[in-house]
């Protein structure tokens, strides 16, 4: 059980304006239970996709972005030591581009090699190291199912005072996928609770198919789903405080993930006033 599973969405630094023709290093690093594919603002793609690969761990190479390099990264060799090495492997996407030519929206599609939790590090660093737009995002403890995909957008602009965004693209299916992953990863129990939440998502999705009028209703169903997980989390917290462990529970990590999905989805539906 992960006790400190959080989703951190942080703009690490935002400094001065970009210099014309500035060389910028983009580094995307994931834990090795996911592969990811990057699509640059020009629509070119690079990365690895485990789906359909002979070796899911190696995936199928996609190499369409010049100067981009996707590789295994490893840390942890212990030379001259009696300790047992505990190497940590990553997947690293390194891309050097010129700003502002390479500025724009980058789409990152995370694909699960196995149902698991993963970390993801994003950094965009001007080569000069100072007086330029630079950013860093850290995504920790995200959940993903085998072969399922989570999509993120990274909007980079080296110009002065231009916000740099990194956000998850949430769809109803994303919420259902995260719910399922949380259950499989034992962040949610028991089966009855999972079914209850799943049924609520069914209601939510059914109302979506009925047009604008029903989008308001769908939002209500989504809010109903939110109330349910709020309640479950409150119950789980009480048990945790008592040192009890109930088989019906919702771990904090799963709760945070589902809450973020709900938050992202809620913005896409009108409220009662049609806003």
């Amino acid at each position: 059980m992960w006790k400190l599973a959080v989703i951190t969405l942080t703009i690490f630094q935002t400094l001065e304006t970009a210099h014309p023709q500035e060389k910028v290093h983009m580094g995307l690093t994931s834990s090795d239970n996911v592969h990811f594919v990057v699509t640059d603002p020009s629509g070119r793609r690079a990365g690895r996709d485990p789906r359909g690969a002979a070796s899911r761990a190696e995936g199928i190479e996609i190499g369409g972005i010049p100067n981009a390099h996707y590789a295994f990264e490893s840390v942890g060799d212990i030379p001259d030591s009696n300790e047992t090495p505990n190497p940590i492997y990553y997947h690293e996407f390194a891309y050097t581009f010129g700003s502002p030519q390479g500025d724009g929206l980058y789409k990152i599609e995370m694909i699960g090699i196995e149902s698991s939790r993963f970390d993801f590090y994003i950094s965009v660093d001007p080569a000069s190291g100072s007086a330029r737009q630079r950013c860093r995002f850290v995504l920790k403890g995200a959940v993903i199912e085998q072969d399922s995909m989570l999509t993120y957008h990274l909007l980079y602009n080296g110009a002065l005072d231009t916000p740099i965004h990194f956000k998850k693209i949430a769809l109803p299916s994303t919420l259902r996928q995260d719910l399922s992953a949380a259950y499989k990863l034992n962040l949610l129990g028991d089966k009855k609770l999972f079914d209850e939440l799943n049924n609520q998502l069914d209601k939510f999705e059914r109302t979506l198919t009925k047009g604008k009028e029903d989008s308001v209703k769908a939002r209500k169903e989504l809010e109903e789903f939110e109330k349910k997980i709020d309640k479950e989390r409150e119950e789980t917290t009480k048990h945790e405080q008592r040192g009890q462990k109930d088989k019906r529970f919702l771990a904090a990590d799963a709760y945070e993930i589902l809450k973020e999905d709900i938050s992202l989805l809620r913005r896409q539906f009108p409220d009662k006033q049609g806003r």
Partner: protein, 699 residues
Amino acid sequence: MFLAPLCSQVKIHERLEINPRVERLKRTEALSTVLSLKFSYNWRSSSPARIEVTGPCGEYAVVEGTGSRQNGATIVATISPASIGTYLITMGTIPESPPDLCGEAYAVQDEFGRTLMSEESGPYWCRIDRPSQYVFQYPTGFDLNVWRDTVAYAGTDSLLGEDTPLNLSWVAERFDSCTPRRWLDSDSVTVQIVEGVEFGQFLFFDAESDEFSRGTRAVVGPFDHISLIYLPDGSPPGLTGGKVTLEASALGLVSRKSFIVRDEAECVRILPARLVLSPGDTTLLAFKRINSDGTESDFPPGQRFDVMILSGDDKGMLLSPTGEAATELTGSEAPIRYIAPAVIVGDSITVSIVASASRMQSAAVRFKMLANGVKPPAVFDGASFTTSRRDFGSRIAVRAVEACTQTTVMVRQESVLDHFAVWVSPDTIEHSQSTTITVVAQDLSNREISIYGNTVMTFTTDKPEYGSFSQSAYSTYALARAGGVVFVADRQNPVGLDPQRVVVTVTGAAKSGSGRMNVMGVLEYTHFTQGDSIWADSLYDNSKTERISGKGCALTAIAMVMKAFGVDVDPGSLNKWMKGKDGFDGLNVKWWSIDGFAGNNKVEYRGQEAYGIGYDKTTRRIIIPQPINLTDMDVHLNKGLPIIAQVLNPTTNNAHWVLVSSKRNGEYNILDPGGYSNRTTLSGAYKNSVYRFILYEQK
């Protein structure tokens, strides 16, 4: 007793030449001939007898002898005929002898015993007072002999620059009176083409008009110097050729001979086995036929060649397989060799050699005066004049002068300083290393020669910015020959540049030479190890458990790169900086993060290659891809730039990072952050296998 006049010796000077202006085809031979005629008288009688001969120029001989009725007797009168004409012979028994029964025979023989004329009579009563008289006409015939029966239609003679590929010419001294016996002023030979007039004509000097004329009929003479040129200027039909018949007439006598003109012009390529020789050297000359379409082919076995050195006797000799050595070989089979002169003037000479296939030098015609149509004793073969002593000096040579090939051979003097060979060893050095320069005086044939040891030698380079000579720029030859001059790459370090080719030029005694070397950029590394106690226990990244000793191989390798470029850093300080400046993603170093390191204006991340070693969690197996081709790193290493390479540590069976510092003698030298003292090259524990590498270069 009568004495023969002093005209019994005839000197005939014959020359065979193609063109008086072309010296190379000249051949001169002096011929001395003693002619004699033997007039014999045979009779059967006891009476003595006498024979008396009188020639047209006063030649006279008389002989008497004792007779024998039983066995008969012969007397012989010998004269040297001074001229052509009528000889009167009177013979018979001497009147004072008693009458007797006689029989007699008369004969004229030349000096070779050939009977030119004979007559026999008797037996009858000897006519004591009525000697027999005979008239002998000398000479009795005229022969036109063709040496060879085929000549080539050669077209334009490019070598000689003339359109006269076939010449007829001769020189003969004339008979101007009975003393000496020469051809007479009025004597001339008329040569006429009576067949095949369409294939060529004569070019001859017309004495009456005092200019050269062309025609199918030429009257040549007097015989002091006659040049008759046959021009095969009409293309003959195909390979069968065209038959040409010449008719020569002189002194009322006529003779005919024929030859064939063929259109088979071809060139000969001379291929000397060596183009540069020392005096006295010998080289084989090979020959190739150049066909009309420009292709080359071999000549058939037994092909004969005419080969000649064009200019002067001091240019060496040609040697035939029969041992004949001359500046010109005619009709010689291969192999033919060229022998360079033993001594030459100056440093070198250039020798031009021309050659043609022999059938292009094809026909010769001579005039020969014979007595009463008697054939000469031997075939006149054109190579020997020994059997032509009976000639009266008239001769026509026919020769095709096609020779469209020429080659040159250089003969170079030995033991004359031509240049210096400059050896640089080793020829590739790193910055700050040195190399030895050895200078050797050589002649044109690249053979070492001795020169004065105190000869002043000057050393210069075309890239002085990369190094200097350990000696001053001046040295003695003795020192330079002993390898006493050293070049030290002690100036600019060409890191980031391809190996710099530096040319060393050595000058002395007005000669020079040069050698080359490569100066490679190289960085000076400090070998950091992650287990160094100074930083080994420092917490790695922002981890609360992992330390540099366990996780810091890549970090340590990067620190070595930065330090080599002059950045004041070590693994400990770099780790500290990277913690605070996002140098890590997770525990993973960001290879490019050092670009922003404070004070680093010297080195930057350049990129990376290959996928690297991974791990399959589902199977719990390490993923080891195919190693890269190590030479993929060479371009970078040859510039003196570092590479951080991922290898498989056989000790831990994990991916590991090392610094590849250089490639020397095929080995990739490394600095291992792991501190393994015996791992200095990729070829050891790491089995020359690299799975991924990171490039850095100077900013």
